[in-house]
Symmetry: C3
């Protein structure tokens, strides 16, 4: 593993190794191992959990982080090739990535999609530009397509909840006033099938995920013994052990906010309520956070013991420490 762009980059053995290591780190409160190592974190978009858990994780391991906010204290960066740079962008990733590679031991990059063209966003231009031009490992902190650290944290939570091959998990779309990126639902689906879960994606018909992802997820599921299906019926969650809620934008209306609003408004009642959760046999509620209370999910559900959103967020710390030790640890580069 040179870069971590997606859990696509990880085979079953690597995922198991990372999750075992994360569980050990969590139980033994592992510290040290990355003395003198520096992680550079570039945020093109805001972050609470990601920035914080990586910062604390690196420091607990004896290393350090430097956080750079592009457009806020750092000039905006160009990522496209063959461009005449006479606009707002003062520097190209072709310089920024190799220069930062001389300073840091690894680079971590968050760059959400621009949301205008799925064709363009699905190239993940910012992240891939860093991956191409950096000479140190690049960690994806959420791009247009993927959020692998979230998926790893969630997988650890599933293990803690006792999920195993064949366990049923529902990923349900929920209403949100804005069209949110697709990285989290795509990553949760992929990790679900990578872990051999029986995944049901519950969403209105207009909120199907891209065929490329669904096709790939089916292929992975058939190798791991998992399963993946879609449903437009909300009660399709009923047999699930975990109800994972997440809102995302419609690919049918990508880049067209008016069309998106029109579609979206029809499903303003897709909130995860106690009533909906009541259809399951005491399923666990999960969400990657941040979550809008009483829009995506009701207070009642979030405040109930069924909600594991805080544990889920904590697990980000542990899986990322495992990842960092693997990527940067002294004498551990032989994986």
């Amino acid at each position: 593993m040179k870069h971590l762009i997606s859990t696509e980059n990880l085979g079953p053995t690597e995922i198991k190794h990372l999750l075992d290591k994360a569980a050990l780190i969590k139980s033994s409160r592992t510290v040290g191992g990355l003395e003198g190592k520096n992680l550079g974190m570039l945020f093109f978009d805001p972050s609470l959990r990601t920035q914080t858990s990586f910062s604390v994780g690196m420091k607990q391991l004896g290393g350090s982080v430097t956080v750079l906010s592009v457009g806020q204290g750092v000039w905006d960066l160009e990522v496209e090739d063959n461009v005449i740079m006479d606009g707002d962008k003062a520097e190209h990733v072709r310089e920024a990535a190799p220069v930062l590679s001389r300073y840091f031991d690894a680079l971590a990059v968050r760059a959400f999609p621009l949301g205008r063209s799925w064709e363009k966003d699905s190239q993940d231009p910012v992240l891939n530009s860093f991956a191409r031009h950096a000479t140190v490992p690049v960690i994806n902190l959420e791009s247009a397509l993927w959020h692998p650290c979230q998926a790893l944290g969630d997988a650890l939570t599933w293990l803690e909840l006792g999920l195993k091959k064949g366990s049923p998990l529902a990923l349900t779309w929920a209403y949100h006033p804005k069209a949110l990126p697709l990285a989290v639902p795509r990553s949760v689906i992929l990790m679900g099938v990578q872990q051999g879960l029986d995944v049901t994606v519950v969403r209105p018909p207009e909120f199907s995920l891209d065929e490329g992802l669904m096709h790939y997820a089916k292929k992975v599921a058939s190798a791991t013994g998992g399963n993946i299906r879609e449903s437009a019926k909300r009660d399709a969650i009923s047999s699930s052990q975990v109800v994972y809620a997440k809102s995302w934008g419609s690919l049918a209306a990508y880049g067209d906010p008016q069309a998106e609003q029109k579609i979206r408004q029809k499903y303003a009642n897709w909130q995860v309520t106690q009533e909906l959760m009541g259809l399951t046999d005491q399923a666990t509620f999960m969400h990657c956070l941040p979550v809008r209370r009483n829009v995506v999910v009701s207070d009642e559900v979030l405040n109930s013991p069924a909600s594991k959103v805080v544990d889920q967020a904590e697990n980000r710390l542990h899986v990322q420490k495992a990842l960092l030790l693997d990527l940067l640890g002294h004498g551990e580069k032989d994986r």
Copy 2:
């Protein structure tokens, strides 16, 4: 002491202990003691001294800080309960506080008042929301009501200046183009009487502090042997050993900028000048900073040896190191 919201939370023994410890830290240049500890600092409002002195203090003690600027790199947070979160705020403190508690050993929060309604601001909603939902100690870095770290730093400065029970200190209102928050004057008054000083609050009639505070200060003063009185006459500072200047907004015009301006303009001459200081017997000048030169206080006073504003700011570092060692130190949690 679980949280430090106000010096109200500290008894006389605790205050003495902290100040003794701070003095020792200052003289012995104490380092170490918080290895592996991480302090999360959330700023809803800007900061120079607070951010810096906590950062340097934690690092000198072997720990580290992560600074999060809400609304700048971190999404804005909802603090009210039972809200339908369909506006600008992407996350609720009910999630943010417990999640950050999983990452950090303590949380420090700065949240100024919104300045629209005293009734609402005097509930200190942001800070109290964190205090309620965090599972680690919360340190107040200045809220609508209190600035306990400033008060502790000032108390150390008073000791260094030789003030003791019964020593006269004047807190004088000064002109400033804007209505500033009340946390500093309230905290200085409280710490003044907690230390048994003879406190005179000098302010125009329209700038009385809230009755709740004055009533509480009188109660504390009667227990410690201190005293608290108010005066609208500027020369009421004349017998003081310390003249502590600070501007604040009028409770009479709270949330009404036009009314506030109208009242305030009448007192544009309430600047601390050499002439005013000349009424005292070589009193020391104090101010919590930042201070507007030639508005709140003249260049002449600030540049004179009577000004201790830089020492005052330095003492923030020492009292905060004492506080952090008490809150987070290994084997010192028995207080």
Copy 3:
């Protein structure tokens, strides 16, 4: 050396010492030496390399940094004396600099020129205000006049390229949509002659640098055996071993954007292309970064092995570590 404002402050022995030390740090990957030391970095303007290389450098040496962005999380600072501070600026450097000196072991300040009046900018008011009021060493991270850390990094690169006394270097002006500051060209010229290089400044007639700098550079050159001349002909680069490209604003139109644009547009073809580089005998291309591709320099040149811009940027790290060890190192203050 108390402050590092310009390489003017460094004699030949000091420069040689710093570059030797930097080369050793680079080859031996020196770590440690600044345990417990804290550098405060104040940015009035954005930064990628400077912020990052100082942060990583301090951490590799066992110390730490605190980054303060003025106007973003830190209130704006007044630098002029005798001002009535009733405007936007909440604090004066006369307080901020001594207070920060109580917290930090050194202060590093970046403050670009305001670009309205050369007479005023050439006083370097922000940096000099810090230098005057700080009680710890102040390091210039690029001011209106100087960028000494860039010059030191460049000098190390020149040594690595085999340049020695008498080696020919061309500093060529290049087109850029905006009038950029003069600190880098001025600092490169000064360091060029301090190192005894044979420097040719190639620029359109309207882009002469200030007479004060050119006069001083001639004086230094005559002492070191270097040389400095100017030319308005682009092919004056032909005999150079290094072509150092940089854009800057015209002193003739300083503070007058319309006049500047009018002059500047005439030279929109002053891009460093492969054709231009072809006039030299395989000269090395240098630029301080950030650089606008296909405006200042073509993709072809930047992507060619002749470009050393990434090495140049890396060398910032090494010279700054040498500088920090000299300024702050334990038992090394005897220089």
